[in-house]
Every structure is written in structure tokens, then in C-alpha cells.
Symmetry: C2
DNA sequence: AAATAAAACTGTAATTATTACAAAATTAAA
DNA sequence: TTTAATTTTGTAATAATTACAGTTTTATTT
């Protein structure tokens, strides 16, 4: 059911080629906030005609058109998110996994003195240890 | 007056070598949230015995000890901040400059369902155009 | 349907931030 | 002052991303 992916592309003014649909479909179905390389490795077996450069180019196009969000929370690589509804992210310092988080009273938060800054977006990032890793942290030395 | 820098190091359990003091001093005095390379380039003329690896190692040490904050807001490189008081950051999409922002009612914001996540830190990032760049955006095609 | 133009895609090479590592220099301890 | 420990250096390795030029695919025109 890649119709949703195709519709999203058209909605954001992106011509829906097969590769583009596959990449968008992957992002919509896999909520792991994957990096470009993860997307490539996951799709390549079923789409052997896919190149890594295309994945990079396509993700950049998606982001420029506002069809996906780029998440800069991991110093190693850029992660991507097809969920455009307002939400925050959590990143485990140990395993690096990124989870979605819902926020309450987020609207109450205001910038005190924005001066002449023209603000267009806001991202909230939490850091810490996920359930699995905090258990491991308690019992091991590493 | 590098006493403040030295005191900060001692306070966070870091032995205050001359290089370490110089790097911390730079971070305390320059609120531009510099990357490792920027720090190296700025200090090298006056400290020709400084190596880039030392800057990277030192910043990592500072961060591990909690003496400075690493800001992951720029996909290109990690930025550092000696201001440990709670505040948000703004990054200009055009020129890449990072500014500090104060928040109001930040405490009111809550995570709805953290589950078994052990949260240790929170960062708020704004994106947009700084005063200078938003003017340029209005009148130029680029 | 053939020719042409435009767009999408590929593969390799280049770039760049960061890390690994082993040796050298400095500092502290015995 | 000899030894041990720590800090620092410089080069090489790693890895994410981009540049680019050529190729394939798709769309358009004749």
C-alpha cells in the first residue's frame, strides 16, 4: 500500500518516481528515524537498482519541499522523520535509538526576547537512557 | 583573567593544564558556540604548540565531565557552549550563526508518557533567519 | 513511432569532521 | 634522578556527505 507515500509526494510537489515512492514509503512505515545509509541498506536488497547518492539526493529534496523533517540530534548523521505532527524526540546516549515523545503545555513556552530573529521552526530533544540501556547501566561497569 | 577558566576546570575535576585553560577560557569569553576547528584556528596563532587533536580530546573531556555542553544543532559539526544555565538555541538557516535564547514557562512543558525512558537532559532548538539574513532574503533571489 | 529534450539516477572521486593510535614531551612521584 | 603517569602531538584511518560527469529513463514534440 504505497498510495499514501505517493500521495504525500504529490501533495508536496514532488514527482513520484518509483525510487522516491519507495523511500517515502519506508519513512512512513518505519518509525525509527533512519539515517540515509539505513534507508539505503534496507531498500537495496529489494531495489538493486538503487544507489546511495539517490537516497541522499532524494532525502534532501524531501526536506527542501517540507515532505519530511530532518532531525539533527545525532552528531554522527542526519536522521529523517515522516511524522510532521508536533512532537519531541528522545535519544538514548548508549544505544543511540531515537524515540518519539508527546509534549504537554508546549504552547505555553515562549521565547523571551527574539529580537529581530525570524523563527520558523522549533525542535525539542531529550537525552538519557532507554529502558533497556538503563537496566544494563545499573548492573554493568561499561 | 583566566582564573575563571581554571576554576571551572578544577570544579569539574579536570586537571588544569595550559592548553585546557586556554580552551575553556576561549569558550567562556566567546559566546559564538564554536566548533572544535574554530577554537583551534582562533587559539593556534597565540599557542603554536597546540594541535587539533588536543582540541578534540579536550572538548570531549570537558563534555564528559559536564564542564561544557555539546550542542548538536548543526549537521556539519558539534558546537560547544560554556554557558550551563538553562537556555535555548537559535540557528540561522542561511548564515549558520547560533544565538542564545531565553525561554518563559519552560517548566510547564511536560513529557506525556516517558514510559521507561530515563531522561537526563533537554535541549530546545529554534530554526529560522537572523536579522541580517532575513533582510537579505527579502530583497535578493538567493 | 522516431527524434529531441528534460528529468532522474548512477558510480566514482572528493571533501570534511572526527577518531585511532603510537610516539614524543611534559609533569608528578618515588 | 630515575620512574611512572599524564598530556600532547602528528599522521593515518574512518565515515558521512557532496560534487560531478556520464548514463538511463521519462516526457515531449515532430
Amino acid at each position: 500500500m504505497k498510495i499514501e507515500a505517493k500521495d504525500r509526494l504529490v501533495e508536496y510537489g514532488i514527482k513520484p518516481s518509483l525510487h522516491r515512492i519507495a523511500i517515502m514509503d519506508y519513512l512512513i512505515k518505519n518509525h525509527v528515524h533512519p539515517a540515509a545509509d539505513t534507508i539505503f541498506s534496507s531498500l537495496y536488497p529489494s531495489i538493486p537498482t538503487l544507489s546511495k547518492t539517490t537516497v541522499y539526493n532524494t532525502l534532501k529534496l524531501f526536506e527542501e519541499q517540507g515532505a519530511v523533517a530532518a532531525i539533527v540530534i545525532d552528531e554522527k548523521n542526519v536522521r529523517y522523520d515522516a511524522d510532521l505532527s508536533p512532537h519531541a524526540h528522545f535519544r538514548c546516549k548508549k544505544c543511540g535509538a531515537i524515540h518519539d515523545l508527546k509534549l504537554e503545555n508546549f504552547e505555553a513556552m515562549k521565547v523571551v526576547n527574539a529580537g529581530n530573529l525570524q523563527i520558523t521552526e522549533c525542535q525539542v530533544y531529550f537525552g538519557g537512557y532507554c529502558g533497556n540501556c538503563s537496566i544494563l547501566t545499573d548492573y554493568s561497569v561499561n
